[in-house]
């Protein structure tokens, strides 16, 4: 399998990046701060305002290094890409499958299976590992409800029904999320899932991790040659990478939710690292963001055996691997899309 490279996260708003030979120079207020080689870099994620030189942009495009600009608060701004990569025939087939209700349902169903399964796995793990300190009855109840939803997903007649089931499961799952918070319970308690704006620390943390995952999934789809904006489950909406959102459903529980819980339960981040604005919106401070990014990078390096490929891969390659498997299905090599189940 392809090698997982590094990601450079630029979190200093005043930073400017340029290229000298094969080396990236990071300058802050016109003084060189860091130098690092371009080699083995998979992506650059800029949370800065000042920018990056066109020459470095060119080098990134040439080497397929994904270059993304987010605002300092983590909202997506832009992505630099060169010639549209990949194969127009593959994209046409993707569009044709997206047009077909039956085909869309088949792909979406497999994605939802994996999402539900993986959510349940997160709950079950908490029961297994922390049975003494949690409200077992509550978690078991949710786990049971999720399990029953798998049958409903099997019976779903169209994607609308499937989305409703997925929404029901998400609601159940998040209803017991607080039970899985074992430390700093009061400060990180969440009151359901809210996104715009995040109204508590846990939501702020989850939203930030989802942005990172969405960005990596979108870029993985693009590098495989699929159009990240044409989805099977999420409807087309200008500016929304629907396919990336479809595919990342499988990974959210494993890559983001579990990481968020770990960070809080191990006290790797603290409540004081969040700013609560007058509108009750919650923002993460720079230091916390750095800690989250470091933990994210570490998590991506952890290896698992992919249950379908039966090959050892780092978590960070999951978006790439699943994009590849999806393209195999779209192309007709695989009769169905094999989603990722956490073993």
């Amino acid at each position: 399998m392809k090698k997982l490279g590094n990601v450079l996260y630029v979190t200093i708003p005043e930073a400017f990046l340029s290229l000298e030979g094969e080396t990236i120079i990071v300058e802050v207020e016109e003084k060189p701060k860091t130098r690092l080689p371009l080699l083995n870099l998979d992506a650059i994620v800029c949370f800065n305002w000042i920018g990056i030189s066109p020459k470095l942009m060119g080098a990134c495009v040439e080497r397929k290094i994904n270059l993304t600009f987010l605002t300092p608060y983590g909202k997506f701004l832009a992505n630099v890409s060169g010639n549209i990569r990949g194969n127009v025939l593959l994209r046409r087939k993707q569009f044709a499958l997206a047009e077909s209700k039956e085909e869309s349902l088949s792909i979406s169903r497999n994605i939802v299976y994996a999402k539900i399964y993986n959510q349940r796995k997160v709950v079950e793990r908490t029961i297994r590992d922390h049975s003494m300190v949690i409200d077992q009855a509550k978690l078991r109840d949710v786990s049971e409800k999720i399990k029953q939803s798998i049958q409903s997903a099997k019976d779903a007649k169209d994607t609308e029904e499937l989305i409703a089931i997925e929404g029901y499961v998400a609601k159940q799952y998040f209803s017991c999320f607080n039970e899985m918070i074992l430390q700093q319970k009061d400060e990180f308690a969440m009151n359901g899932r809210n996104r715009r704006l995040p109204l508590d620390r846990m939501n702020a943390l989850l939203s930030f991790l989802y942005v990172l995952l969405a960005n990596e999934t979108r870029s993985a789809l693009e590098s495989i040659g699929l159009d990240p904006y044409v989805g099977f489950m999420h409807k087309d909406r200008p500016g929304r990478p629907s396919l990336a959102l479809d595919i990342m459903e499988e990974f959210r529980p494993i890559l983001c939710d579990r990481l968020a819980l770990t960070l809080v339960n191990r006290r790797q981040i603290s409540p004081s690292g969040f700013l609560i604005k007058e509108s009750e919106a919650v923002l993460m401070d720079d230091e916390t963001r750095k800690q989250v990014l470091t933990a994210w990078q570490e998590r991506k390096k952890q290896e698992i055996i992919h249950p379908y490929l039966k090959e050892k891969i780092p978590y960070g390659l999951l978006p790439h691997v699943q994009s590849l498997l999806l393209s195999r299905h779209i192309r007709g090599d695989l009769p169905e899309y094999p989603p990722f189940f956490m073993e």
């Binding site: 194969n87 497999n110 399964y117 798998i150 249950p307 379908y308 195999r328 695989l334």
Partner: protein
Amino acid sequence: MTHQEDELLPLSGIHHFLFCRRSWALITVEQQWDENIFTIKGHEFHKRVDDPFENQSGPSLIVSRSLPVRSFKLGLTGVCDLVEFHPSKDGVNLAGHSGLWKPIPIEYKRGLPKPDARDEVQLCAQAICLEEMLSVTVERAFLYYGKTRHRTEVSLDQQLRDLVTNSAKEMHQLYARGYTPQARYKKECKSCSLVEICLPTIQTEASDVKKYIQRFLEEDQ
């Protein structure tokens, strides 16, 4: 059958095509490419040969590097690493040179001779291009291997020419259908730079996707 200008396919593709039709389709139909150590070494090796502006000519020899060629009959276009032109009575006129000349294509390969005919086929395709463009017969052609540092003469017999013609025809058929053949895993896959895109080993399990999903969904029910 002759092809139009915008239908021409890369001549070097015939080399991939004989090695593995799927790898050719991934590159040509699906526009996928990945480098590995072998392809990078190949580029480095060719850098030394390819310089279209470094031509040598004398009264008894013209050496042309990186010579662009095409054949409408084959529907292929590409670049010859090196073509030598030797004086010959049944040769042709060349612009800027007096006398009659006959081309001899020489293709450079980094490693060792291959067990199959893919190098010979690529070279023969170049020869057929030269014949079509210059209205001349090409009788001699050579492969130069970096590892042996030797030129080997390739016999451009009818059998090889047929193989070129048929392969080119098949390439055009697959290309027109936009079809990528299924993978079949073989030991050469390990050294192929496209192995991570191709995933040749998952094919055998294709019918098992349903079973794979069932395994998880029915785990503890």
